[in-house]
Each structure stands twice: as C-alpha cells, then as structure tokens.
Subunit: 345 residues, 2 copies
DNA sequence: TTGTATGCGTTATCAT
DNA sequence: ATGATAACGCATACAA
C-alpha cells in the first residue's frame, strides 16, 4: 500500500452521520451495516466508509448499549507465568467476540486501586484477576456491584466468587516423597510469601510429606523467599549455611528458583551431585539447564482455558448461578536435578 | 474490609447525576470535584460517591472531551523481550498521566487489522507499535489520519514516522570479529525472517565481518530460523550437518537460540568445547546456563524510555514537528560460550 | 465557585 | 429494511 500523504494534525475521525450523508442513507442503516445486519445498499455504505476513513467509535457505542464486549484482566506483571495465561485468555476471549483489556498493578494497594478504577471506568463487562490474595477496597466495591469476576491461582478470603486454582498441597507432598524415597532426610524449602494461599498450601504439602514419613520438621530448613529472585537467592544462601546442610531444596516458584540456581552456582554447589533441586513452575529455562530441573508444572493452558470459560459462562448467565470453583492438577516432571544424597562422610 | 453482600446481577453503576442529586449540588460541580478542581463542599460529594458506589464512566467522558489519555500499544506477543518493554512503557506513561491499552496480534494481516481497529475504535491518543515491519492496510489508514505513532525495533519502509531502533549491524560485526579474532573461520548464522529490517541488518553485520576479514561467505552456513524456537532448532540441525561443520554459531534472536541450545544438547555437542555460541538478546536464561551464553544485549529499559518519551513529546506538540529517529547501541556481554576452536584433527 | 444547557457519536425504539 | 428521534453519561461553555 502506498503511503503518500499524512495529515499534519490528528484529524477528527468521520462520524456515522457523515457516512450516512455520503451514502445517502440514515444513520440507523449505517449502524446496522456496521453491525453485520442486512441492508439494501451495502456497497454504497462500504464505499462511503472507505472514502471518509471512518472508524467506528467504540466508546460512544458502549455508552448507549451498556456493553463493551471487553473483559478486564488484572495481573501483577508480564512474567512468563502470566504472559502465557494472558495469551491463552486473550485468544479464547477473542473467539467469543470479546476483547481483553490488560492492566498490571504494582505491589501497592494504591496501584491496584488505580488499575481497578481504570478497568471499571472503561466499563469492562467482566474482570479476570490473577494471583491476587490481599483484599483491596476498590476491588471489594466493584465486587459488591455484582461485576462478573473470576480469579485464577488465588482469591481473597471469604469471597464467594468464580475461581480457577491448582492443587498445590498434595502435589508438593508427592514431590517431597520422591525426594524422601530416594534417601533425602534434610530437605530445605524456599517458601513464597506466607499468607498467600498457594504458598501456604505448598508449605503445607512440604510439611505433610515430612509428617507422613516421620521426619522432623526443621525450622532452619524453611526459609522465606517472598516469591522474588533476589530473596530466593538469599533464602538459598541461608539454607546452605544451615547445619546440617540440606541435601535437597524445594523452591516454591520459578522466580525464586532462578535465585537459588544463581546462589548454587556462585558457591560452586553442583546439581545433582552436591544437592538435589525441585522447583514449582516449569519454564523453558529449566528444561535446558544441565541437568534439567525437576519441576511441578502448572497447567497454564488449562488455567487460561478454564478461567475464560468460567467468565464467559458468567457473562452469558441469564440469572444468578452460584460461583464455580475449578481445581486443576499439576504434573511432576522428573528431570536430572534429583538424585540420592551423597553418603555422609 | 468486610464483603458482606453482593448484588445478584451486575447493577448499573450510579451516574454523575445521581451523585449530584445525593450531594445536593449540580453535575457541573461534581464533575469538577472528580477532576480535581476546587469546590465548596467536597466532603458532601465524596460521601455521595462513596455511598452510591459511583465509578466515573471514562467512555462517556472521552466521547465528549475527544481525549482518552490512553496510548495503544501493539505487540506481537508477551514474550520476555516485549514484556520488559511493556512494563517500562506502561510505567512511564502512567507517570505522565496516560494509561496503556495493550493488544497483541497474531501473524495474520487480519489479526493485525482487528487489533488496530480495536485501538482506534477506543480512540487512543497515540499508538506505539513494536516489531512491525510489514505494511498493513488498517495501520496505513490510521497513519494517514495523523494519529501520533511511534515504532520500536522496526517500522514499515518509507514511512516518515517516529521510531526507536537499535544498531544491529555494527554490533553484530563486532561480535563476529570477536569470534574471528580467537580463530574461528567457519561461523554459522541462524537468521531471523529475512525481509525484517533488524534481521536483515544482523545478517549484514555477519557478512561484513567476513568481508572485512577476507573470509569466504558460505551459503550453507546461513540458515533461516524465522525467529521461532522450533525453526531455530531446525536451522541449527542443518548447520551441524553442513560440511565443514561450523565451529561457532551466531543466533539472531533469543527464541531461536533456545532452539539451538536444544539441538546442541540433543546431539551432545558441548559449549564451548565443541562449538562456540553467541546470541542476540539477553535473557535470564543465558546468564544461568553453564557456561553462560555470550550475547548482544539490547537496552530494553532504554528502548521503553525513549519510545515513551518520543510519544509523549509528539502528543504534547502543538504543531507539526518532523519525525524523530532514535538509534540505541547494544552491548556485547562476554560470557563463557565462546572459545577458540578445537584444532582440526 | 455554581448551575444550566448543549454537544459528543453511537445504539435502541418505533412507526413506517 | 428504513428513517427519525430519544437516550446514554459526561465535559464544557456560558451566564449567574
């Protein structure tokens, strides 16, 4: 296409009225043409639209119709985890005729409120919220208005709301039992932020495995990593300074695992010879390392699919239906990072 | 906060009229309160808003004011590269009072047109476009209307438009010269999609290094990877089947590099003992591998900062100013993946 | 500083 | 299937 000229200043887009005039029909007819209904002279209208460079103003339309065909998505960031869920969700929404309006929020309550205000201000038809556990006043206000809402991964305590979550506890127990089965008795855990449901559950799974096996639970082997790479690094550092040293580490999410890997590498502690490692979350990285990291893999595509399905059903529900709760299983992917511990000297 | 009750059906949000009535003032006064202007009885209005659960309808406001204070961002996906630029851009925009409306597009022209229509339909004040080289009819139409636009990484040929790009060619040449300096004479390249400006430039940089050094350019050592992980894998496979085999590989983006790493691992070809590797783009992964991968690192934070700055200046420009073109330098980060080639047997 | 009236571009309604 | 017109919720200009 030739791009020959360009308006010097942003020009006001043509309106439906101008299109109607140019096409010699009424605005009602143009409106119906735009919305795919049958009209008598489509070609005239099409030509007028083309000629005038008309772009429908979705804002104006939504004001009147009270529907934006848009779902707001609220995520803390665009990391690998959320990125993949976002991609799936946006895709499924589109196929159902909805668009996704994605906003990220920082740690502060204020940032979250602003994000919520933005989405509600733009009159999204529904709201999908990822990884949010803490209450928030704005969000609670929106919730009370009856806004269709779906959470994935975690949701505020006591809210009766649609949600899609993975089973964290049992799968962690099974992963720990794998370590115990091959001889580990000193297993360290790098925990996420305690108080966040998924991380509480993962810690509980870790403990359950110890209880089931009759192993003691050593507080020195439970180090908080707060979900970040940096704190994962420091938690690993503390773990490797504990006495007796753990012969295996379980890291509760992939960001912290990256920190753990960094620490182990700096201290020249080799996997799996010197220590075994299991991580929650599977990312490309872990399969490519040598050895590959054994992981508990969340079904990201399924989370995206389910949370979208739940939202779409909520949006199309004619009457009140009780909130649905979907629980998905994780897979344990065995790679080379776990091995029986070295014999004590 | 207690979440005691919830509306059974999505309830229409209160309007500014209802707030005005409840607060015993006029809508004009409420409007000014909302927009931060001084009013006589702010507390009454605040209380009414709180009481009614009022959320300002940004759609209605924008329709009238013809400004959304929103910038559309168009990216192909949420991969690490774009994710980090998005995070920075959204942040800088927010500080300037703008919101980001992010949309992804698939490979098809149709998908891109839909994304453009969505953004323009929502009357974004400006448009930031990432990694787009091919022309697109919808985008060209929008461009001609004078919509403020800024591209990063690449832009359609012949468009006189704001852009932020990195220097691809010379830095690639320098990276190749590093390989040549330590003795490599058979260097393979996994190219991105030819025809895309950055990838054309990287290939040219690769060739220039050969020309400068008086080395032959072997077509068998240039394999297309099309920017994807899978094709990077296959390109590496072809390279390692070439005769003579390359002693070093340059991979033109990180997705393809992951494919290359996978292939090398499967064929048990060790880095750097059996082959040296340099990748364009730096991601966490590459620093954590053993050995770390030597990379050409794009200044992601700077790209985000500059493209936002350029956009904001364009938005605030009172009159026509000529398009600006920003060119940023990349850094070569030497890690352990490059070493002199093994002596031929 | 306040209230009133008008305009924004679209969809919904209803009579034709 | 079409045209005319009300309605949507807010910002803005203007008069007070």
């Amino acid at each position: 296409m030739e791009v020959t000229s360009r308006a010097k200043k942003p020009s006001r887009s043509a309106t439906i009225v101008e299109v109607a005039t140019a096409a010699n029909v009424s605005i009602g007819t143009v409106s119906r043409y735009i919305n795919g209904l049958s009209v008598r002279k489509p070609e005239q209208i099409r030509a007028a639209i083309e000629e005038l460079g008309y772009f429908r103003n979705a804002l104006a339309g939504s004001i009147r119709s009270r529907a934006t065909k848009t779902v707001g998505i609220l995520v803390p960031n665009f990391d690998e985890f959320h990125a993949r869920i976002l991609a799936g969700t946006a895709n499924h929404l589109r196929q159902a005729g909805y668009s996704a309006l994605t906003v990220t929020y920082a740690d502060t309550a204020n940032s979250l409120s602003e994000a919520v205000d933005f989405l509600v201000g733009h009159r999204v038809d529904g709201l999908i919220v990822g990884n949010l556990s803490a209450e928030n006043k704005s969000l609670a206000k929106v919730f009370q208005t009856g806004m269709p809402m779906a959470f994935y991964n975690t949701h505020p305590d006591g809210w009766s709301v649609d949600r899609v979550e993975v089973e964290n506890c049992d799968v962690t127990t099974r992963a720990m039992e794998h370590l115990i089965d091959i001889g580990h008795t000193h297993i360290g855990i790098v925990t996420g932020t305690i108080g966040q449901r998924p991380h509480d559950e993962r810690l509980r799974g870790y403990r359950n495995a110890h209880i089931n096996a009759g192993l003691p639970i050593d507080p020195a082997l439970q180090q908080p990593g707060n979900g970040t790479r940096r704190e994962g690094y420091e938690a690993a550092n503390r773990l490797m300074s504990a006495s007796p040293q753990p012969t295996a580490i379980f890291s509760s999410n992939y960001q912290m695992t990256i920190g753990v890997l960094q620490l182990l590498r700096e201290r020249n502690i080799r996997i799996p010879d010197d220590i075994s490692l299991i991580s929650f979350d599977d990312v490309d990285l872990f399969a490519l390392l040598d050895p590959g990291i054994t992981v508990i893999a969340q079904p990201l595509a399924d989370i995206a699919k389910e949370v979208t399905r739940v939202m779409l059903e909520r949006l199309s529900a004619q009457q009140m239906v009780p909130p649905v709760s979907v629980r998905l299983d994780c897979n344990i992917v065995l790679r080379g990072s776990t091995r029986p511990p070295k014999k004590a000297d």
